[in-house]
Symmetry: C2
Subunit: 255 residues, 2 copies
């Protein structure tokens, strides 16, 4: 029997994991947990290809991954079995059989990440693991100006957390949306700001460094126009601080 | 200087606490944490009166409590200080000075609790600590019929978790609303059902036993009409199982 190529959509609360990518013998990664679980479930060695790595503490509501498996089960049964054996902070929301050549990373056309900020006076209790609380006035107009300069195809070396990156740091960001959202919990309203990044790929820590830099612009510590010089410098030291992992979620991957 | 009577509104994620009410020397209760923190903050012994106890694992988005304190600070400063020293899963969302005679429990006129269920095929990852996942078809029409029979003034002995209750078990439930709500997370829709109970007071475990009983009606294991006989029996054995704590949230207290 030939193997089936299964493509799954995953949600995870990354709070207690060391990120997506498996690390040697440790099993405290999303990929590691999935491979161990699938190996036991199907009694065969299974390699899971994610659309990309997420950092330790980063979440996903639409991570996509594929794996080859020799099984008589259909995708509905596979989804059910995976959800039965996965821990409560990881869930498969969709599973389908795809073409044998499909590869979740190599075929990904675009990815969307969302960074959630709460700027209210009161710290959010519910959702606190997915939201960065900064009770400050941010100038969104200035942040949008800066975001416009970062949009498009650029060499993002200045926004790459990997100082030993040998491959090209050129990526295309198709949009950075900055929206104000009001969420309600009981009689309490939370003012949230969502920074939503869509692009053809993101470098290590890139969304978090972009967010940290935009926050410095929003606070008035930097000028929006500086973005052009930061990009041109190709020097990580020129960009802002990296925003904390827990505010970031991989929202969607498109093929 | 006479003491100020401070009334606060609190949110908490009850997951890791042993409920509201302090227990001897343990400090793992919401009330215990608040009293210890306020005692250190104001260097005086402070007793916190909650509107009512919440069970271990039950959450609050609108718990109300009051305490007497000798301080020159105004309510805004007190809210800020409390939030600085409280753990991240407890927050003060409002603070005000109230009449010296105000008592959060004795003056409460009505309370609203909400029980959240997710009936979708996929287990919710985000919010899983506040939602009971039961991937089943529930007949909401039957549940609403049963809820109508439970609404009004009744002796709720059959729905009281304290078998040694010596005081009256008569309470008035003004409404039980059962609504279908769709929440969205990325491209995944979650079908939630909210059971919202408003009344002049609730006995120990009462909302969880009401919810467990209504779930049995929704599954077809009981008839809606049984509710009248269960109330009349005044016997805990006649009602259904107690629903898990984590789906329940104290939503609002009115004065």
């Amino acid at each position: 029997m030939s193997k089936k190529n299964i493509c799954v959509t995953l949600q995870y609360d990354g709070s207690r994991y060391d990120g997506w990518q498996k690390q040697g013998n440790t099993d405290n990664t999303i990929q590691g947990r999935l491979e161990t679980m699938l190996g036991k479930l199907f009694e065969q060695e299974i390699e899971v290809n994610g659309s990309g790595r997420t950092d330790a503490g980063v979440h996903a509501v639409g991570q996509v991954a594929n794996f080859q498996v020799d099984t008589p089960y259909g995708p509905g049964k596979i989804l059910e079995l995976m959800n039965t054996y996965l821990p409560k902070d990881i869930a498969v929301t969709d599973a389908k059989i795809v073409d044998a050549r499909f590869h979740a990373r190599l075929n990904a056309k675009s990815k969307t990440y969302r960074y959630r900020l709460s700027t209210g006076f009161v710290r959010p209790v519910f959702g606190r693991q997915q939201i960065l609380w900064i009770p400050e006035d941010l100038d969104l107009g200035r942040m949008r100006e800066a975001a416009a300069l970062l949009t498009g195809e650029h060499d993002f070396t200045s926004f790459c957390g990997n100082k030993h990156m040998k491959k090209s740091c050129v990526r295309r960001i198709t949009s950075i949306e900055i929206e104000e959202v009001t969420t309600t919990c009981g009689d309490t309203e939370y003012d949230e700001i969502w920074l939503t990044y869509t692009g053809n790929g993101f470098l290590q820590n890139m969304v978090r460094i972009l967010t940290g830099t935009l926050l410095e612009v929003g606070r008035g510590e930097r000028e929006p126009a500086e973005m052009t010089a930061i990009l041109e410098a190709k020097d990580r030291e020129r960009a802002g601080a990296m925003a904390p992992a827990h505010g970031l979620t991989l929202w969607k991957v498109e093929y």
